[in-house]
């Protein structure tokens, strides 16, 4: 195998055969090394959340990958091709421009006052919402659908103050029984305060570069349609053969769906809701 081996001859056979062998080994090993180096580079660039989201998105069911512009009626059916990074989507930018506004207009006008109105919230597809505050910080909370599903969690884990969060990364954990809802943060930033789950808020963030990226979040109008669709999906998951629909009107949510439907596959339902594959 090596020229140092006993009885090795530099003949054509050895040169061709071992040449090919070492080339193959070189290709395999260098590809492996390249992959590892790239992985290391991605880690250094803190791209693991992006990559994780990229991987997760490809595994989401089609019905969870609909374009937000289905919700405003622009399209009848369209699957998002940009992993919900609407800022990267030319179509969205064109549509947004045509609608005559950008995301910044959604910052609440009143100084100091918390933007309590749901109208002011932006929604993440992982069933969280974001509320901008006048001081440049943002409150993040879990939306009603997810809350009604989980009901009264046994345990809520929220990142502590000072934790740096990356958008799309699961950061909070709502545990009930043996089921976890791993809630992803809709925007990146550093936790400046920890909220109170009962009050609907999980934590308060300050974006690292001063301004949060909000273009991928749904506006309240879109969110309403989206929420109805999510509700329908949930209803479909919860409807067992021979049982009546529990959420007939779609408006009033029973406070504790997990309690009401203990036999459903809540592990999968919550993962679906939290956009976890």
């Amino acid at each position: 195998m090596l020229p140092t081996a006993y009885e090795f001859h530099w003949d054509t056979g050895h040169i061709v055969f071992l040449g090919i062998f070492y080339s193959v080994l070189t290709v395999v090993m260098s590809t492996l090394i390249i992959a590892s180096l790239r992985a290391r580079r991605d880690m250094n660039k803190r791209r693991e959340a992006d990559i994780a989201w990229h991987e997760s998105f490809s595994e989401l069911a089609t019905e969870r990958r609909h374009c937000r512009h289905e919700f405003d009626g622009t399209f009848d059916a369209k699957v998002c091709g940009h992993e919900f990074a609407c800022g990267n989507c030319e179509q969205h930018r064109a549509l947004a421009a045509a609608a005559g506004g950008d995301d910044s207009i959604r910052v609440p006008p009143a100084q100091d006052a918390p933007a309590t109105s749901p109208e002011g919230r932006l929604y993440h597809r992982g069933h969280t919402w974001v509320e901008a505050r006048h001081d440049g910080t943002y409150d993040v909370g879990v939306d009603d659908l997810l809350r009604s599903c989980v009901g009264n969690p046994d345990r809520v884990t929220v990142p502590g103050v000072g934790t740096r969060l990356m958008a799309g990364t699961p950061v909070a954990d709502l545990q009930r029984g043996r089921v976890h809802a791993r809630v992803a943060t809709p925007i990146s930033g550093t936790v400046v305060a920890v909220g109170d789950y009962e009050g609907g808020r999980l934590y308060r963030l300050r974006p690292d570069d001063g301004k949060a990226r909000l273009d991928q979040l749904l506006r309240a109008t879109e969110a309403r349609v989206w929420m109805l669709r999510e509700l329908e999906l949930l209803q479909a998951r919860l409807t067992l053969p021979g049982e009546a629909l529990a959420l007939a009107d779609g408006g009033e949510l029973v406070g504790d769906l997990m309690g009401a439907y203990p036999d459903a596959d809540w592990d999968a339902i919550l993962a679906d809701l939290c956009l976890e594959p």
């Binding site: 090596l2 140092t4 081996a5 006993y6």
Partner: protein, 739 residues
């Protein structure tokens, strides 16, 4: 600059070193060496080391006594090789080639071994030598004191040696014990010759080299391991006519093949004699006169032969009358002609009547005469003036159940006796069979109750007398080429210890010294005789004995492996000759043969669909101990059949519903044996053959059942009748019980 040795950098260094050293040949070479080293486990044998040297000796594993060059590494006797140009035979057979292994045969006993054959545990165990010798001595003394010396016997499987004299003298001092020999086919044939000549103490010395035509009855002359190889006429030798039931290699090589039925040797020989006598082909008057020489009762050979017209014999022999007549004429025309008996060496001896008919044929062909190929030579006993008392007896002369102590000489690993034959002679449960043998097996060890461990071949000096039917008198020593095993003793020493234990005074020149003295005496006899020549294997030169002035010179040469042989054979005068078998039982037997009961003569009173022939193996005889490496010929290559492989033609086997390799049960009037079918189309229909020769292993063949005959001779009734070469047998399918 600071040297900052962190754990990380240390790990880096180690990793780098590991990778770097992988690129050097060091780890690979280490692995390479390790792989080889791990294969050299302690249980892989290590050859001995030391300077290479050679010693010459004589093979003592069969009666031929071939010359042997022993290769020694240091003091280790590692292998044996033939000596080119040696007068006995310039070759070695597989037995001889493997002689070096005989010392380490797994069945070698490492002390006085004893077993209780009838007890629950018949395994051999090493016992106290002195106590055993004491017990045996008391038995001998008891026999002597009650005047029953004939309840003590020694079986000498190779008579004519120095040890033979010691055995006889021992028996004589015990008050007349029995000295027993067990002739094999060759010796039996030679013994049958005795009646032919009126002069005693002469042995037949057929010399094929002097013959133009050789008629051979069954012996594998061109195929055997024995030295009697004859080259057929086509290859420059005499015209060879083979009488053989099987299309054997010798039959195929021979110039003529007479496929006579098994057991028809005597009628065929008599028919040939008939043609010679009645067609007056025996050219000269003196031979004609022999045919009409009247016996005491007035009967003549011509009268005895009258019944054996070829037309009648054709029926029993399966040969055509024309074949028989042509053969007789060919023999008559091809003088000097020689007729050899013996038969298949792997089986038992031919019967006395066959041998007589065959010797008569020689007589009629003028073979015994100045121009013939059949000379005579002095018998070994006569040559060395061996004491005549006690007389040599045949085993069948000893009444069953008559012996208290039976000593069996086991220096010859194989013998034409069966275990049952020997044990039958013992007095009930009280008799003891004592083997003077290196092995707890073989002809002596297998039937024994006690084994007194003796030297193995190559560890002591034994003498090798001329083989039966050899053309010349000869003598050589099997010299000691190996270091004797510490646990073994010279057979003469055992004799001396027995003698002392039996309350006799051992002569001064007793034991080993007595044996040595006898060996020297024999060298002296030959030197004093002054005839013959000595072949020195070291240089291949031949020296006339007449040129040796001193008996010590001859003894010294013999000790170096030299071989003495007489120059010429003797011839008998016509007046000393008379034809055999014209009277009494023999003539009656012949007449019965003429009646067409060829096979019945050998298989009296039994029925069976097959004729079973014992033989076909190449070895000396049944029960022989052979070196482990002989397995190459038996188990590992299937060249030689084992004793559980029944050779039978495909047609006959299939007629019995048996396929190749099928397990079968063979039943004779004397016992049963589980065998495996082995197709051998060289055999005629309805004839099967079982090798009586050595069987180094059971070759994975069917397991012995309790009623299984382990000895082929026993299966053929050797314990009941002198001739056991043929027997009627039945064959049926057996079911593998041990699948």
């Amino acid at each position: 600059m600071t040297l900052d040795l962190t754990r990380r950098s240390l790990l880096k260094f180690m990793g780098g070193a590991a990778v770097g050293s992988m690129l050097s040949p060091l780890p690979w070479k280490l692995l390479d060496d390790a792989a080889i080293w791990t294969q050299n486990w302690s249980w892989i044998a290590r050859p001995p080391r030391g300077p290479v040297s050679h010693k010459y000796t004589t093979c003592q594993l069969c009666p031929i006594g071939c010359g042997m060059r022993a290769r020694l590494i240091g003091a280790s006797f590692v292998s044996a090789w033939p000596v080119a140009g040696h007068p006995a035979a310039g070759m070695l057979c597989p037995l001889g080639l493997a002689a070096a292994q005989m010392r380490y045969h797994p069945s070698r006993v490492r002390g006085v071994a004893r077993r209780d054959r009838t007890g629950a545990d018949p395994a051999w165990r090493i016992v106290d030598a002195d106590a055993t010798i004491g017990e045996l001595g008391q038995r001998l003394a008891a026999c002597r004191s009650r005047g029953a010396a004939d309840s003590v016997a020694i079986v000498d499987l190779r008579p004519g040696r120095s040890m033979s004299r010691l055995y006889r003298e021992f028996l004589a001092r015990q008050g007349g014990g029995l000295y027993v020999t067990a002739p094999d086919g060759w010796q039996a044939s030679a013994a049958a010759f005795a009646g032919l000549a009126t002069v005693a103490a002469l042995a037949p010395a057929p010399d094929p080299a002097r013959a133009r035509t050789v008629l051979n009855f069954g012996a594998p002359l061109t195929a055997g391991w024995r030295g009697h190889a004859i080259t057929p006429h086509a290859a420059g030798g005499p015209l060879l006519i083979q009488v053989d039931p099987a299309a054997s290699i010798t039959a195929a090589r021979a110039d003529r093949w007479l496929p006579a039925r098994p057991g028809s040797e005597a009628p065929v020989a008599l028919a040939l004699a008939h043609v010679l006598v009645f067609e007056a082909l025996a050219s000269d008057a003196r031979v004609n006169a022999l045919a009409d020489l009247p016996h005491q009762n007035g009967s003549t050979l011509r009268m005895a032969l009258a019944d054996f017209a070829p037309e009648r014999v054709a029926e029993v022999s399966g040969l055509t009358p024309a074949q028989l007549r042509d053969t007789a004429r060919e023999l008559a025309a091809g003088r000097p002609a020689l007729v050899l008996g013996v038969g298949d060496a792997g089986g038992g001896p031919l019967g006395a009547e066959e041998e007589a008919a065959i010797w008569n044929l020689n007589l009629l062909l003028g073979a015994v005469g100045p121009d013939g190929a059949l000379g005579v030579r002095p018998a070994d006993t006569a040559l060395f003036d061996e004491p005549a008392a006690p007389a040599a007896r045949s085993l069948s002369d000893i009444p069953d159940g008559s012996l208290d102590v039976l000593l069996v000489d086991g220096s010859f690993p194989g013998a034409p006796v069966s275990a049952e034959q020997l044990r039958r002679k013992l007095r009930g449960a009280g008799g003891l069979l004592v083997a003077l043998s290196p092995y707890a097996g073989g002809a002596a060890g297998t039937p024994a109750d006690v084994v007194l461990p003796t030297f193995a071949p190559g560890e002591w000096v034994d003498d090798v007398p001329a083989p039966a039917l050899s053309a010349r008198a000869s003598y050589a020593w099997a010299t000691a080429v190996a270091v004797p095993a510490p646990f073994a003793l010279h057979p003469a020493e055992w004799l001396a210890r027995l003698e002392a234990a039996s309350g006799l005074v051992v002569p001064v020149e007793g034991g080993k010294a007595g044996h040595e003295a006898e060996l020297k005496r024999r060298a002296g006899v030959l030197q004093a005789r002054g005839s013959g020549q000595v072949f020195d294997p070291a240089d291949g030169n031949t020296t006339d004995v007449a040129a040796m002035s001193d008996p010590d010179m001859l003894a010294g040469a013999l000790a170096r492996g030299a071989h003495w042989s007489d120059k010429a054979t003797l011839t008998l005068a016509d007046r000393d000759l008379r034809p055999l078998g014209t009277d009494g039982a023999m003539a009656a037997h012949w007449r019965s043969l003429a009646g067409g009961r060829v096979e019945a003569a050998h298989t009296a009173g039994s029925a069976g669909s097959l004729v079973l022939m014992a033989g076909g193996g190449l070895a000396p005889t049944a029960g022989a101990i052979t070196a482990p490496v002989l397995n190459k010929l038996y188990r590992e290559s299937g060249l030689q059949p084992g004793s559980r492989q029944l050779a039978i033609s495909a047609t006959t086997a299939l007629a019995h519903g048996l396929k190749e390799g099928a397990p079968a049960l063979l039943t004779t009037p004397h016992g049963r044996r589980r065998v495996r079918v082995r197709f051998d189309n060289s055999l005629p229909p309805d004839v099967a053959r079982l090798a009586a020769g050595p069987d180094p292993s059971d070759m994975g063949d069917p397991a012995a059942s309790p009623d299984d005959r382990t000895d082929i001779p026993d299966l053929c009734g050797a314990a009941d009748r002198p001739v056991w070469r043929l027997v009627r047998a039945d064959l049926q399918e057996a079911h593998d019980g041990n699948a």
